[in-house]
């Protein structure tokens, strides 16, 4: 059981005589990341994410539609002209389900998984403060969210460039910018989406402290995400939309206008920050005060 190994490692640290105060060790975070990225199921999940841009690129290559017919979802019609758009198309397609699902799996597993495997008490027997444990768990979720987003974009970019070539990027405003400028914008898109997913990760962390069933936590987070998307598509509820977790995610398109349109992005970042702080502190209130029974 890999989770137990970590606990054993930390126990070994704890056995040593106490040392004077030092810079916070990254050992806990590193072991946490090793756990996340070392697990077969998580690797498989990342593989699925990487497959999305590959499928898109190959499918468009085979179908070889006329460029500019406006057919298919957003960005698809631009792919044949510039492989750069495979990355954007893949992000757009993954955003409603695959990316949130991946983050929900990791976040739902973070506390509930340890509780379910019976390793949580070992983790907390060693002198790891519960607040620090939660911080490290969240840092690991953030790392995963960033990795997952970059993976989709990176694989999409490589597949797109290999199959369709690169070149100047046409923005939504009908203006062309250099490929380098396009890459910077793609990076900004990834950063923006990763921040939104981190807010979802904080929600998942909170749900994960409520249960000992990691799969239950994951399902709950996915249901909340889908519900948020559904509510966001009902025009009669427009008063509610700005408060929904997922409402601002699609605003990443504003980074692809010339000049960049900031108001909605700013609100999106504020909303993600608010969700992250609220649910991380809620997770802290729940986790730091609860009895660990398993």
């Amino acid at each position: 059981m890999s989770a137990a190994e970590v606990s054993a490692a930390d126990l070994a640290v704890a056995a040593r005589p106490p040392r004077p105060a030092r810079a916070p060790s990254t050992r806990f975070l590193r072991s946490e990341l090793r756990l996340i990225f070392g697990r077969r199921r998580n690797q498989a999940g990342l593989g699925v994410l990487a497959a999305v841009p590959l499928v898109i690129a190959v499918a468009v290559r085979i179908a070889n539609p006329e460029p500019g017919t406006g057919e298919g979802p957003d960005f698809f019609s631009s792919i044949t002209g510039n492989g750069f758009f495979v990355a954007l198309a893949a992000l757009t397609v993954s955003l409603p389900l695959f990316l949130p699902l991946a983050v929900a799996t990791i976040a739902g597993d973070s506390i509930a998984g340890e509780a379910n495997a019976g390793t949580l008490r070992y983790l907390l027997t060693v002198p790891v403060h519960r607040t620090r444990a939660l911080l490290v768990k969240f840092a690991a979720i953030v790392t995963f969210a960033v990795t997952a987003t970059l993976l989709v974009a990176g694989v999409g970019l490589l597949a797109g460039l290999a199959l369709f070539g690169g070149g100047p990027v046409t923005l939504l405003s009908g203006v062309q910018v250099g490929f380098g400028d396009g890459l910077l914008r793609l990076l900004a898109v990834c950063g923006y989406l990763a921040i939104g997913l981190c807010a979802l990760g904080a929600l998942g962390l909170f749900v994960s402290t409520l249960t000992e069933q990691p799969i239950g936590a994951t399902i709950a987070v996915v249901i909340l995400t889908v519900t948020s998307f559904v509510l966001d598509s009902i025009p009669q509820l427009s008063w509610l939309h700005p408060y929904l977790l997922t409402h601002w995610w699609m605003s990443f398109g504003d980074l692809l206008r010339e000049p960049v349109f900031l108001p909605d992005l700013r609100l999106g970042l504020l909303s993600a920050g608010a969700y992250a702080v609220v649910f991380w502190t809620a997770a802290w209130a729940r986790f730091a005060g609860r009895d660990i029974t398993s």
């Binding site: 460029p67 500019g68 406006g70 957003d74 960005f75 019609s77 631009s78 044949t80 002209g81 757009t92 046409t170 939504l172 405003s173 009908g174 203006v175 062309q176 598509s233 025009p235 427009s238 699609m250 398109g253 504003d254 692809l256 206008r257 349109f261 108001p263 608010a274 702080v277 609220v278 649910f279 502190t281 809620a282 802290w284 209130a285 729940r286 730091a288 005060g289 609860r290």
Partner: protein, 358 residues
């Protein structure tokens, strides 16, 4: 920390306080903006009206939000979030505008992951649609839109004369009054309320917020009887610096389907020109003018097809003028008569039936 361990429930105060801060902070910010009534020297309604006629804005750029709730039982066109220039009559839309003199202007309608632009640069007029990757080009005639008609206010008039002239031009049909100052898009603005005197108009009042410095309307609200405006256009951000000339230069990017078009776009259906039918006429003038046209083929209520089915569900009206079906929204009424006419106006259905009988 010891307090936490003795009373674990107290920990919930932390997320509670965070929620309160987030919600309260947002509400407080809104309340401050709303209650922040600027202190402006008073200006009469007539003076404000004259300001509108002598507005001097060399250049501007900003963001405009338009909302419409016309209350018409019409089907949605396209899917929401699509930047389609035809969708301006429903819901809410965000536009970015750049203006640099009468010859150079650009309006961009922002959709989710899409954008439509209208760009005028000299005699070139471009329309760009990002989701379809289409651009259409039109060439404007020499001196296009240079003559705004004869304004009732002339620059040589004194301010008082100008104000009187502006008021005299509308006073017959319209009541004009000034209202308290407001802040729109972070700028101080006067409010001018104009309301039609004719009772048969569906427009209750039009409320303008006029920039105190430049005399430019920053917000236009049209009220149709309800507490909320049926139609609103307002700047959410505005600056009067000269925009980057690049904004007005449009080169269709590679892969774009470019079409050269005539100046006037063709209507999606023909209004039967030349087929013995009259061209659309306007009956009455001002607030209560009514547009009368022949119904295009396939739209008659007794015809078949999807649209006809929709029309058949509308309430029937009849009188000594004949009979037909009526649609009434918060700002507009439409009457489709059984003899194939369509009457449209910002008036009550009763006024439409009156016109139909003439």
């Amino acid at each position: 920390m010891s307090g936490w361990s003795r009373r674990p429930a107290l920990r919930w105060l932390v997320p509670g306080i965070v929620v309160a801060l987030v919600v309260g902070g947002g509400a407080a910010a809104n309340a401050i903006v709303a209650s922040d009534e600027p202190d402006l020297p008073p200006r009469t309604a007539a003076e404000l009206l004259a300001d509108l006629h002598t507005v001097q804005v060399g250049a501007l750029s900003g963001t405009v939000v338009q909302t419409a709730d016309l209350g018409l039982p019409l089907p949605e066109t396209g899917h929401p979030g699509d930047a389609d220039l035809g969708g301006l009559w429903s819901g809410s839309n965000t536009l970015r505008v750049w203006y640099d003199g009468p010859d150079r202007a650009r309006v961009a309608l922002l959709g989710t992951l899409s954008q439509s632009d209208i760009i005028r640069n000299g005699r070139d007029l471009w329309i760009w649609n990002s989701s379809k990757q289409q651009a259409s080009h039109r060439v404007l005639p020499e001196g296009f839109a240079r003559d705004p008609g004869t304004p009732p206010v002339h620059p040589s008039m004194s301010p008082q004369e100008a104000a009187d002239a502006a008021l005299a031009a509308v006073d017959q049909t319209t009541e004009v009054r000034a209202d308290g100052a407001v802040r729109v898009a972070g700028r101080d603005a006067y409010q001018l309320v104009i309301s039609p005197r004719d009772e048969s108009s569906l427009v209750e009042s039009v409320r303008l917020a006029i920039d105190a410095e430049h005399g430019l309307p920053l917000r236009v609200q049209v009220f149709g009887g309800g507490p909320d405006p049926a139609f609103e256009v307002r700047f959410t951000q505005i600056g009067f610096e000269r925009p980057d000339p690049e904004q007005f230069r449009f080169n269709p990017p590679p892969g774009t389907e470019v079409t050269e078009e005539d100046l006037w776009p063709s209507l999606p259906f023909e209004l039967k020109p030349g087929a013995g039918a009259e061209r659309p006429t306007v009956v009455g003038e001002g607030w209560t003018s009514v547009l009368v046209a022949e119904l295009p083929d396939g739209l008659a209520p007794d015809g078949d097809g999807e649209l006809a089915g929709l029309l058949a569900a509308l309430p029937r009206v009849s009188g000594d003028w004949g009979s037909g079906r009526v649609v009434s929204g918060s700002l507009f009424s439409v009457l489709l008569t059984d003899d194939g006419r369509v009457l449209l106006g910002a008036v009550t259905p009763e006024r439409l039936t009156e016109v139909a009988g003439e």
